[in-house]
Symmetry: C2
Subunit: 194 residues, 2 copies
DNA sequence: TCATTTCCTTACTTGTAAGTAAGTATAGAG
DNA sequence: CTCTATACTTACTTACAAGTAAGGAAATGA
């Protein structure tokens, strides 16, 4: 292979692996599943990511950054809450449609005990970050009168995130209708007429 | 080995495998992980369950039956709704405490595409059954004035089940507080003061 | 008591996953 | 032009997972 300007093999590996992780879980894919479609050899993957553990850790970091950057439009702190909520719904639907039935955290929750301490922490930070953002959205939404709900905003955030997480799993078994039902229910619970 | 009155090896295999499935997912355990702690040989597991696919299918059936029988107290159709809801919460907490962080459906959702058609259907029936029961609980609860919520009872049932499913995953990464927060939120959303 | 069935064991085969060691081609620095 | 780093390949090792074939011991039934 020629050494094309700033080789993108590393990024291609990440993209392919991320897709595989979300579709099949950590123990559901091998280095071969990554290398073959990219037309490279097994050992090339090991060159970039010496062990699978390090690969997975990189995938979490990647997801974390993607959520921060790629979704910056609707994740802006301080803006109106309703479009941010709808942005999250759209983002989730889009993920499912392009073959990412569960999020990284969902995919890894099954294999959680196998992960190293550092990887567990990375996963935890990822979730915490998302949760902090969403708690804010709910808080400002309630203050501005966009949403109505009782109780603690953080609890509500946890429960809604759990709901979406669960709905994605559900959708895989039951079809995407489960996802739409859930979004509809979240809106109803927040006192939004759609 | 002596042929002890109605050998319970088969049941021991199911128990061990179910625990492993819930803790590590379908691709996270091997026949060796089952046989070793039981003090039997690998091939003994194959004697009872010729292939892993058949083993997993049996585990779904087992879970389905366990949910029907073992939880018959609180799953009784027609009784008051509130204790049935609390029964579900207690059952879920107990499962998590005895090392079953996710339910069978949650564990298998990652590996769903690997499953045979028949196994997928079995999993679907299992979920449908649970959902039917829970929809009834919500309906009668609302009729009797025990619960307050807007919208379709089935949608609500789907969304709450998804929430519990997701919360179990969450709890694994975040600790069991996530589970309690979620239960509290469900009560709040149903207009129950705790 | 002899044959059969049940429930296992011993001893294998085959496949694949993770990882490594050593070598090769290319680009760019000096 | 040579040296070095980068980005790979070829060719391997080790380990383990899934599954099978053949055989053996105990209970059961005729």
């Amino acid at each position: 292979m020629t050494m094309n300007a700033i080789s993108n093999t590393r990024q291609q590996i990440i993209d392919t692996a991320l897709q595989l992780l979300m579709q099949r879980g950590m123990n559901g894919f091998s280095y071969r599943d990554i290398s073959e479609p990219l037309g490279i050899k097994n050992a090339a993957v090991h060159y970039h990511f010496p062990s699978k553990a390090k690969l997975v850790k990189s995938l979490i970091r990647e997801s974390h950054q993607a959520l921060r950057k790629g979704t910056a439009e609707f994740m802006a702190y301080g803006g109106p809450a309703r479009p941010q909520l709808e942005g999250l719904f759209e983002f989730t639907l889009k993920q499912c449609e392009c073959g990412r039935p569960v999020c990284v955290a969902g995919a890894l929750s099954v294999d959680f005990e196998e992960l190293s301490k550092g990887t567990k922490e990375a996963l935890n930070r990822f979730m915490m970050d998302t949760l902090d953002w969403f708690t804010r959205v709910l808080e400002t939404g309630r203050e501005q009168g966009e949403f109505q709900f009782n109780g603690n905003a953080r609890n509500k955030a946890i429960s809604i995130m759990a709901m979406i997480q669960g709905a994605r799993q559900f959708a895989r078994i039951h079809g995407h209708k489960a996802l739409e039902c859930t979004f509809e229910q979240i809106r109803t619970d927040l006192g939004i007429e759609s």
